[in-house]
């Protein structure tokens, strides 16, 4: 055991700034690649909420532009080929617009000033298919 610790400390002493740089790049690259290549479950519906009120759920299998009236103005949400974004917002910082498209289960965009949140929900957790 002592031998191992000694070896590791010798190893750490040998690390140079360039090595650290490579290790850092490696970690970032691994994180980035796993985030885009990992099989995240796809969502099926978009749930829109304004404050405590649920505006509704909309299928992602459609092209739809939805305008929601919030406390400070109108927020525009676009559903397009299975993904969703906020395209217009009355808030000042526009963080919600900068988040861009979302399409994966449990992803959420929130516009705090206008009290609007849009999230992607699926039916994976509750059931396999829907009887209607």
């Amino acid at each position: 055991m002592k031998k191992l610790i000694k070896k590791i400390s010798q190893f750490i002493k040998k690390i140079l700034i360039g090595d650290l740089f490579i290790i850092f790049i490696f970690i970032v690259l691994t994180g980035y690649l796993s985030s885009i290549l990992w099989n995240f479950p796809q969502g099926e519906y978009l749930k829109i909420q304004m404050g405590k009120q649920e505006i509704g759920s909309f299928s992602l299998n459609q092209n739809l532009t939805k305008i929601i009236e919030g406390p400070i103005g109108k927020t525009e949400v676009i559903i397009e080929s299975g993904k969703v974004r906020i395209s217009k917002s009355p808030c000042t910082k526009k963080y919600c617009i900068y988040q861009g498209w979302i399409n994966q289960l449990n992803q959420i965009i929130v516009c705090v000033p206008n009290q609007i949140s849009i999230s992607i929900i699926g039916n994976q957790s509750d059931y396999d298919s829907l009887n209607y």
């Binding site: 509704g56 759920s57 509750d126 059931y127 396999d128 298919s129 009887n131 209607y132």
Partner: protein
């Protein structure tokens, strides 16, 4: 040595990521969404089987279409012209004979000969008319209500003396397609699958180590009212007034026409039934939900008993729920349901 073990563990996790247990495909057939989910097969096997099932659905869609070119339309034309329809096709004979039996057992609540009434209400179009038809026309058609028993079906020919017969198998085709899909998947050794045709669902086998679970649509909200576990081979069907309907003067007119009045039945929002595995359970789960939807409230219980439907749930027009005790045991509510609003049969 230690590194070898570590690498083995890492490889185990890598394969875990890429194993796709579920294959799910959707298409638009029968004027609705069809969806087939297959569990635990390779991608190629699943794709091939799903393709065969979708091909069969398209064939049946074209074969039984009520108002476009199909064998049904040809038979309707022959009956209208008082001619004999001759064919070597044995499938249509067994389908029509089954429909005759079903009309008798359901006391005429299921009547596939009333195509003229359904057409008069504007449901023979991909987009429905948004007006009420002339009530004289409806009353007239209802007075001359045709029956399946007035069709002569012999090997080789079909005819009828009643010109008012117009076949519309819209309430039968999707259920029949479920049973056909089961046959195809069986033939291709697919043991675990879930088939959904416009909301009518048949479960084959299981989803791995658990049973398949399906949600039941709330008739008035874009969410599920409950979910239910389907044991291997079981099917579920719903008749509702919220998919094919139009509203005039705040009055909802659905496609579920009561043959006894000629008007859309309006005492219920939805009727859901669960059917144990039999050779035609897909068909029956589709067909039998109609009588339960249409029949007056006081007759629903006896009708269910007579038809051997042990598992059903009916959401009445006022939102109250009639449910069989068998169904109540299986159902898992997704909403808070006031006990006062539930009547257990």
């Amino acid at each position: 040595m230690h590194y070898n073990k570590l690498i083995l563990i890492l490889i185990f996790f890598l394969t875990g990521c890429y194993q796709n247990e579920i294959m799910k495909k959707k298409d638009y057939i029968f004027g609705t969404i069809v969806e087939v989910t297959i569990y635990g097969e390779t991608e190629d096997t699943s794709n091939h089987a799903i393709e065969l099932v979708f091909e069969e659905f398209s064939r049946l869609h074209n074969y039984l279409h009520p108002w476009e070119k199909s064998i049904i339309q040809d038979i309707n034309q022959s009956i209208k012209k008082q001619e004999i329809y001759r064919t070597e096709d044995t499938e249509i004979f067994s389908i029509l004979k089954h429909n005759q039996e079903l009309e008798l057992i359901t006391h005429g609540y299921f009547n596939p000969a009333i195509g003229k009434l359904i057409e008069a209400w504007g449901f023979h179009a991909d987009k429905f008319a948004t007006g009420r038809p002339n009530s004289n026309l409806i009353d007239n058609l209802q007075r001359k209500l045709p029956h399946m028993s007035e069709i002569n079906i012999h090997n080789g020919y079909i005819n009828s003396k009643n010109k008012n017969i117009q076949l519309d198998l819209g309430g039968y085709a999707k259920g029949y397609a479920l049973d056909q899909a089961r046959r195809i998947l069986d033939e291709n050794n697919i043991n675990n699958a879930l088939i959904n045709i416009g909301g009518n669902i048949l479960a084959l086998g299981r989803h791995g180590d658990r049973n398949w679970v399906v949600g039941i649509q709330n008739p008035r909200k874009p969410s599920s009212i409950a979910s239910i576990i389907l044991e291997p081979g079981w099917s579920i069907g719903t008749s509702g007034d919220y998919q094919r309907y139009f509203i005039v003067d705040n009055q909802r007119y659905s496609h579920l026409i009561d043959p006894n009045t000629g008007y859309p039945a309006n005492n219920s929002q939805s009727a859901t039934i669960l059917f144990p595995p039999t050779e035609s359970s897909g068909t029956l789960s589709d067909v039998y939900s109609k009588p339960l939807f249409i029949a007056p409230e006081e007759l629903k219980y006896n009708l269910a008993k007579e038809l051997g439907i042990d598992f059903y749930m009916i959401v009445m027009a006022d939102g109250k729920i009639l449910i069989s005790s068998g169904m109540l045991n299986l159902i898992k509510w997704h909403e808070k349901i006031d006990k006062k609003n539930i009547t257990v049969h």
